[in-house]
Symmetry: C2
Subunit: 123 residues, 2 copies
């Protein structure tokens, strides 16, 4: 297996749809994914999995049931512990994210929603 | 537990020693770490753990026993699969890295070396 650098800009250029994470790598039972997001996602939580968001472009706004909203900008990271209900959203801009979470994680958690992507694609 | 953004620049400003990874977060049994590196590290591999390198500044050079050297720049990622022997190094510049690997991972793998850090510090 050949080890190669993965260039984020080049991978981001390969897709444009919002809220449809694409896989760019795997390690230790987890997928490394990229997503472009805009406007509201859906309230959800992951019972058994922590979720990492690394913001590449724009500002990720995250709402919670029982703590103040957070705003995460480029070069910043947000880790949502398992069980914490959250609503990712943005203002009127496209936000680019890198995500790291177990392969078993559905991006809408236990919630089945029209935004749930069933088959993740490698790019 | 309060969820808060983690700012990489701010965390990098908290330490200056080379080859001594600092913990900035944890998820799914792994630590998210930052490291400043310069010049050669040591040949090593991790029998059971894949290792992620995200380059924030500079160019990470990685040598392997049986494939060509890779060069990974800012905004690029390198995933070293378990079992692959590797030697991280840099040219004459300081390189800033974000790492993600299981909590059990020693950064020198099975190799005990003067550069092995035994007690990782949270920053």
């Amino acid at each position: 297996m050949k080890v190669q650098s993965i260039n984020l800009e080049e991978k981001f250029s390969k897709f444009s749809t919002h809220w449809t994470p694409k896989i760019i790598g795997e390690l230790n039972g987890q997928y490394l994914k990229l997503a472009k997001v805009k406007n509201d996602f859906v309230w959800h939580s992951h019972a058994h999995e922590d979720e990492l968001f690394f913001v590449v472009k724009g500002t990720l706004i995250m709402e919670y049931r029982d703590q103040p909203t957070t705003r995460t900008g480029p070069g910043e990271i947000l880790i949502i512990p398992k069980g914490v209900e959250h609503l990712p959203r943005t203002e009127d801009e496209e936000v680019w994210l890198m995500l790291c979470e177990p392969k078993t994680t559905k991006h809408t958690g236990a919630v089945e929603h029209e935004k749930t992507v069933k088959n993740l694609e490698w790019i």
